[in-house]
């Protein structure tokens, strides 16, 4: 209520009411009632207090009416007894009313005021939404002073408006052109006014964009999709997979936030390709669609294409954990992500899959020998998205064993070109006696037939390495190779295959025969004849003496050596001087040289024999007696060849003379022991072997058996054996690593880089001397192992350990990589495969530390194989 006191305004009515006597007292003069204000404009619903001035009448009270209605009414407005007029909610028609004040005391006296009632001015506080899309839409407006006739204006254009209340309007409209505009409200007449304006955007249609648009996803891996909405304030979407809200277990599910989870198995293909874009191929895997639909506008949506691939399978267990090599095994494998069609590998061998679910497989097959007693189980999911699993490492051993794997491997070191997983298993099962019988009976590995003189030796050398890798006659090969380093011919002088191949065949054929029988064949070999100049050697002619070369080396290098030996290999000492006693003199050499006269090349087929014959190597040399010195000769031990013996008889007599010589047994024993077992055998060992040699008249099979089964060979003091000579080093590493080698290998190139060019010793003195010492210990192989060669040896291992020797030499790196999932297993497998279990804890620790520098199983596999092969503990036979 207004209560202002002002000299210019009448007193408020309430105060007048307090003075009734005084007012009535003035009635008698000019009687009147005046309404003040006399004219007034008001908005509908508003109030205004009018004052009535009553003159000279008492009491001065009045009654109020509107348009003649006392107190007014809802149509014209109401007025209270005290003159407060409240305009009607709507302006009346006409919108001018009369307010009358009638004196109570004198009803004829009255005053009037004219009141104009108008609509109020609208005020707009918000438009919801203030962004709409083209087309039909409705909006809600909040504000004040809205009246039933209010009109919503969009960009000055009235639209269909629904009055809700004085503070709320609704409007609907259809707009086709996007634009920024304004919204206002216009109230109708009387007093029609336009409200303030609010910004309003009419946008193009709603857009939805899903990212990523295209994705390849493995089962088992979720993917977050995001939908961005354009031209709308409601950015929410609803997700569908292949049209199914939220997806399902067949095609995968998607949550409200857009996180897609693929199904457990690939959906059938083609998978409900309802909305696959035309250019989407399904070859990479079945496709599902992930769609986001705008909640603001269901017509607005976007679809992402998901190409599903098989999971990367993970094995968490495989049972049983211990397998029997060579037997049928059934494995129960658990894990995740196993796909239909998955291939299960045991080692590198596929198994037969009997049952398969995403988390379990049962498969069976034959267990191989493994690698170092270990074998991996892994699987490979097929396309789409073919992928290997991790590997579990199982142990594998022979069905029955008469010796440990370690003992078998040690025995194989000296009877083969190095233990392989297969040979260890086999020997464990058969035992040594049966194994040796097999070796004795094994068919001889052949070398390629030389075609002509010009045939390169390369193919035969490559065949040698292949035979060593795969041939059954391992021990024969080892003995033949040992003999080739005692009864040396060298490609340095006889490089052709028609020279070397027949000679090497002869050694193989006689490797388990009799040494003296072999010696006779060697003596008459045209290859040896050429190498040491016995071919075309003849009796003294015009001051040209018989050639001493073969005679000298036969004595020095093939049978006796320079010093007389005791049975145990120690030199006999002259009791008088205390010095070694020579086995022969220069004069003896000349006697032997004369015995070896009269021989020439065998006669080529179809040609007439003559002295000298043209070169020919396919048969023993032939003798021409007229070139033979048939005079008397004195051999060793006082033997005399009487005059008149033929060339052939004299060869026999010389061999017989040597057969009697007690030096041969320890001489040959030392050299064969050195080549097969150790550089520094004890006198007792030499003596035992020499006794067998002597007792059997030079039987190489019995001698070999004595060597390889001797207690000293079986338990050599650790690392007192020998540095693996290059050919053996290469082969034992590759065999230990279970390498596959083909006929076009170039392994001899590596042996050459290490100082041992197969069949190309620098001279008849072989690659190294049986007397060479290192650190005080006889160790012949060290003579060629210079520091630069040692580096080449390590670098060979580097290449071999990463299959860098060419396609013709491949180790099973894939299996090593699988074992590398468990580095300790990998290192232990290498320990067993290469060092028959002798690797120290410190070595293992160093290697494991190196492996821990990477999680890449391939690098781990290579580095482990490198370190194990490079270590001196492998290079020296452990």
């Amino acid at each position: 209520m207004r209560t202002a006191f002002s000299p210019f305004h009448p007193l408020p009515f309430t105060m007048l009411m307090m003075l009734p006597t005084a007012i009535a007292f003035a009635e008698s003069s000019a009687v009147s009632v005046t309404v003040n204000p006399s004219a007034y404009t008001i908005v509908a619903g508003a109030s205004k207090t009018f004052w009535a001035s009553v003159s000279k009448i008492s009491p001065k009270t009045v009654t109020w009416s509107v348009n003649g209605v006392t107190g007014g009414n809802a149509t014209v407005g109401k007025i209270s007894d005290s003159g407060q007029y409240t305009a009607p909610a709507l302006p009346p028609a006409p919108n001018v009313v009369k307010i009358r004040a009638t004196s109570t005391a004198m009803p004829t006296v009255r005053g009037e005021a004219v009141v104009t009632v108008n609509n109020p001015v609208p005020s707009l506080s918000s438009v919801t939404p203030n962004l709409v899309n083209v087309g039909s839409f409705s909006i809600r407006l909040s504000g004040k002073n809205f009246v039933p006739g209010s009109k919503v204006l969009i960009g000055d254009k009235p639209v269909a408006t629904f009055f809700v209340s004085a503070t709320e309007l609704k409007a609907t409209a259809t707009e086709t052109s996007p634009r920024e505009t304004e919204v206002a409200v216009a109230n109708p007449d009387p007093g029609g006014k336009i409200s303030n304006k609010r910004g309003f955007r009419i946008a193009p249609p709603v857009t939805i964009s899903v990212t990523p648009e295209k994705v390849t996803l493995r089962l088992g891996v979720t993917r977050q999709f995001r939908a961005s909405a354009g031209n709308t304030l409601d950015r929410t979407v609803t997700w569908y997979v292949n049209g199914i809200k939220g997806g399902n277990t067949l095609y995968g599910t998607i949550d409200e936030a857009g996180l897609y989870t693929p199904p457990v198995m690939l959906p059938p293909s083609p998978a409900a390709l309802s909305a696959v874009p035309a250019n989407t191929s399904t070859a990479a895997g079945p496709v599902v669609n992930v769609k986001a639909v705008s909640n603001a506008d269901p017509k607005a949506s976007d679809t992402a294409v998901v190409t599903l691939q098989n999971a990367i399978p993970v094995i968490t267990s495989a049972n049983p954990g211990k397998l029997v090599a060579g037997s049928q095994v059934q494995l129960a494998i658990s894990g995740t992500g196993f796909a239909a069609g998955a291939q299960v590998l045991l080692g590198s061998t596929p198994l037969t899959v009997h049952s398969l679910s995403p988390t379990a497989i049962v498969a069976s097959g034959k267990a191989g020998p493994g690698f170092g007693g270990m074998i991996s189980v892994s699987l490979r999911n097929p396309d789409p998205g073919a992928a290997n699993s991790n590997a579990m490492v199982l142990s594998v051993g022979p069905a029955r064993q008469v010796m440990t794997a370690q003992a078998a491997a040690r025995f194989l070191e000296r009877t083969t070109w190095g233990p392989t997983p297969d040979s260890i298993q086999h020997l464990q099962e058969t035992g040594i006696p049966a194994f040796l019988q097999e070796q004795f009976a094994a068919p001889i590995s052949e070398l390629p037939e030389p075609i002509a003189e010009s045939t390169s030796i390369g193919p035969a050398q490559r065949a040698f390495y292949l035979n060593a890798m795969t041939g059954q006659d391992q021990l024969r090969q080892r003995v033949a190779f040992a003999l080739s380093q005692i009864l040396v011919v060298s490609g340095v002088k006889t490089p052709q295959s028609n020279q070397l191949v027949p000679y090497m065949r002869m050694l193989s054929q006689n490797a388990f025969g009799n040494y003296f029988t072999l010696l006779r064949q060697v003596t008459l070999s045209p290859t040896m004849g050429r190498f040491l100049d016995m071919v075309n050697n003849r009796k003294e002619t015009k001051g040209v003496e018989p050639n001493e070369n073969y005679a000298r080396e036969l004595l020095q290098l093939f049978t006796l050596g320079l010093e007389q030996l005791n049975r145990d290999g120690t030199p006999k000492l002259d009791p008088a001087t205390g010095k070694p006693i020579p086995t022969y003199s220069e004069a003896d050499v000349k006697q032997f040289a004369r015995a070896f006269t009269g021989w020439t090349y065998p006669t080529r087929p179809g040609e007439t024999p003559r002295f000298p014959n043209p070169t020919y190597y396919a048969a023993p040399m032939i003798a021409f007696e007229e070139q033979h010195d048939a005079t008397q000769k004195t051999l060793l031990l006082g033997d005399v060849i009487p005059p008149g013996r033929t060339a052939s008889e004299e060869v026999d007599l010389v061999i017989d003379n040597l057969r009697k010589n007690p030096n041969v047994a320890p001489f040959v024993a030392i050299r064969l022991i050195q080549r097969l077992v150790m550089g520094n055998p004890s006198g007792a060992y030499i003596s035992r072997v020499a006794s067998v040699f002597e007792a059997t008249g030079g039987d190489l099979w019995q001698t070999t058996k004595a060597i390889v089964t001797d207690p000293e060979a079986d338990s050599p003091q650790a690392y007192q054996g020998k540095l693996r000579e290059p050919v053996l080093f290469i082969l034992s590493y590759l065999r230990g690593m279970n390498a596959a080698v083909t006929t076009d290998n170039n392994l001899n190139g590596y042996a050459r880089n290490m100082g041992e060019d197969l069949w190309f010793a620098p001279s008849v003195f072989n690659y190294f001397s049986p007397f060479y010492r290192v650190n005080g210990q006889v160790a012949p192989e060290f003579q060629i192992s210079t520091p630069s060669v040692a580096l080449n040896r390590v670098n060979f291992i580097y290449r071999a350990s990463r299959n860098g020797l060419g396609a013709s030499v491949q180790i099973d790196l894939a299996e090593l990589e699988r074992l590398a999932f468990d580095p300790p297993s990998l290192v232990e497998a290498l320990n067993q495969a290469l060092m028959h279990g002798s690797m120290s804890a410190a070595m293992k620790s160093s290697i494991l530390t190196a492996l821990s520098a990477t999680s890449d199983t391939r690098v781990r596999a290579r580095n482990a194989a490198y370190l194990a092969g490079s270590a001196s503990q492998f290079q020296v036979e452990p």
């Binding site: 050639n547 650790a718 630069s788 040896r793």
Partner: protein
């Protein structure tokens, strides 16, 4: 090349001086050094494996040719084909015609001959030999034993080489300090000549391009870890002699490769070497001499070799081939020393386990004998002369140890070697360690070195 740092880690020694030197090299700052004629001397041994029949390498022309031709029969070189080498004393000899490549060095006085050198314990006559009244080397006529003898200068057997003993003694004197590169280098495999008591030779495989530890990569953590583990494994010998030896070899191989890899960056020599085995070996030696300053070398002994001299048969064509290879490689090597400005600081000499019988053997060859002639080449050689005593070319003559012309050496290896060692700078006080039997000979310097 990327793996150098790793080599360094595997190596045992500080290489800081070398590293600095090699950096200078890359900046081109050592060209002055390379040209310098500072204190540097090298001996280069070319070992003729098999026993060189030097009866045909140096042939008397002015005095004994008739005896030569008569006794040698089918092996004799026609006099007209010999490349004449006159001596200041007036006697004229002839080089084998296949030595044409080095023949001009005789006239330039850069090439000399030491006649009838061999292993003897003391001066020895035919009578003494036949009577067995003086000690003679063990197992004369055996390749293996006499190959050792010539390298050890220990005619009764020994395990250290005379070059290795020089390295021992000069090493104690710090001649190459502070370099860690060995004084001896063999480009022909293991060489007993260079084995000392305390020192071991470097070995370099001539012409081999990969000399480092393959796979080393300082940028790759896994390979760095691999090399670290290898280094650890090479220290795990647990007292086993063979493991120690093998690991020592590997470590030394890595160490030497590292040193050489770090310095062999110089411009290639202009001198062309023949592509033969010996040519490749001598080219490798020349490259090492080229980087002598970067390796920190003031004294070096090199060992090279050529095989095939065991000419029991087919000698004439074989020798023609062998001497061609020998002379062409030697001539190229001399030219390379001239190019490098070190001709007077590098002396090349031959060794061979023995000579061969003057009398031929069946098959147009010759058999094992004893004394033989040798070649010495270099700017410091008092060339154009023949030193020592040429043997009397008579079967069963005064110089024949037997009945086929097996010449008893008239000059010992000790005298031959000591003459080289004296030039090389071995103090007289050390000479008896290097050549134990030198004291048995009156003349201890043959005078062929300037």
């Amino acid at each position: 090349m990327t793996s150098r740092r790793n080599f360094l880690r595997l190596g045992c020694c500080s290489l800081s001086t070398l590293t600095v030197a090699s950096q200078f090299s890359r900046l081109g700052l050592v060209s002055a050094n390379a040209q310098s004629t500072g204190d540097y001397k090298a001996l280069v041994c070319i070992f003729l494996f098999g026993g060189n029949d030097s009866n045909n390498m140096v042939v008397p022309v002015s005095t004994q040719y008739a005896q030569y031709a008569q006794a040698r029969g089918p092996l004799a070189i026609p006099q007209a084909q010999l490349l004449q080498i006159p001596t200041p004393g007036g006697a004229v000899y002839g080089l084998h015609p296949s030595l044409a490549a080095i023949h001009p060095l005789w006239a330039q006085q850069k090439l000399a001959v030491a006649a009838n050198v061999g292993m003897i314990v003391r001066p020895t006559t035919r009578a003494q030999y036949l009577a067995g009244s003086v000690p003679v080397p063990s197992n004369l006529f055996s390749h293996s034993d006499q190959t050792s003898s010539w390298q050890t200068a220990m005619p009764l057997g020994g395990t250290t080489g005379w070059g290795g003993r020089i390295a021992d003694r000069l090493g104690l004197l710090g001649v190459n300090a502070p370099s860690n590169y060995p004084l001896g280098t063999s480009v022909a495999g293991g060489a007993l000549l260079l084995n000392g008591v305390n020192t071991k030779a470097a070995t370099v495989i001539p012409g081999q391009t990969t000399t480092g530890l393959e796979g080393s990569n300082p940028e790759n953590a896994a390979m760095v870890a691999r090399d670290k583990a290898l280094g650890e494994l090479l220290e795990m010998d647990a007292g086993y002699a063979l493991i120690q030896a093998a690991s020592a070899n590997t470590k030394e191989g890595i160490r030497i490769a590292t040193l050489i890899n770090n310095v062999t960056q110089s411009n290639p020599l202009q001198t062309q070497f023949p592509g033969t085995g010996l040519g490749t070996e001598l080219a490798q030696i020349a490259r090492l001499i080229q980087v002598r300053n970067e390796l920190g070398m003031r004294r070096q002994i090199f060992f090279a070799s050529i095989g095939g001299f065991d000419t029991h048969s087919n000698q004439l064509p074989d020798q023609q081939n062998l001497y061609t290879q020998l002379s062409q490689a030697m001539a190229a090597f001399y030219n390379a020393t001239v190019e490098m400005g070190v001709a007077a600081q590098v002396t090349t000499f031959t060794e061979s386990e023995f000579g061969r019988t003057f009398q031929p053997s069946a098959g147009n060859g010759s058999d094992h004998a004893w004394g033989s002639h040798h070649l010495i080449m270099g700017g410091a050689v008092k060339g154009g002369n023949l030193y020592g005593t040429f043997p009397t070319l008579a079967i069963q003559g005064p110089d024949d140890s037997g009945n086929r012309g097996n010449w008893i050496p008239t000059t010992s290896l000790d005298q031959y070697g000591a003459t080289l060692a004296d030039w090389f700078g071995v103090p007289g006080t050390e000479m008896s360690v290097v050549f134990p039997n030198l004291a048995n000979f009156t003349t201890q310097n043959l005078g062929f070195m300037g």
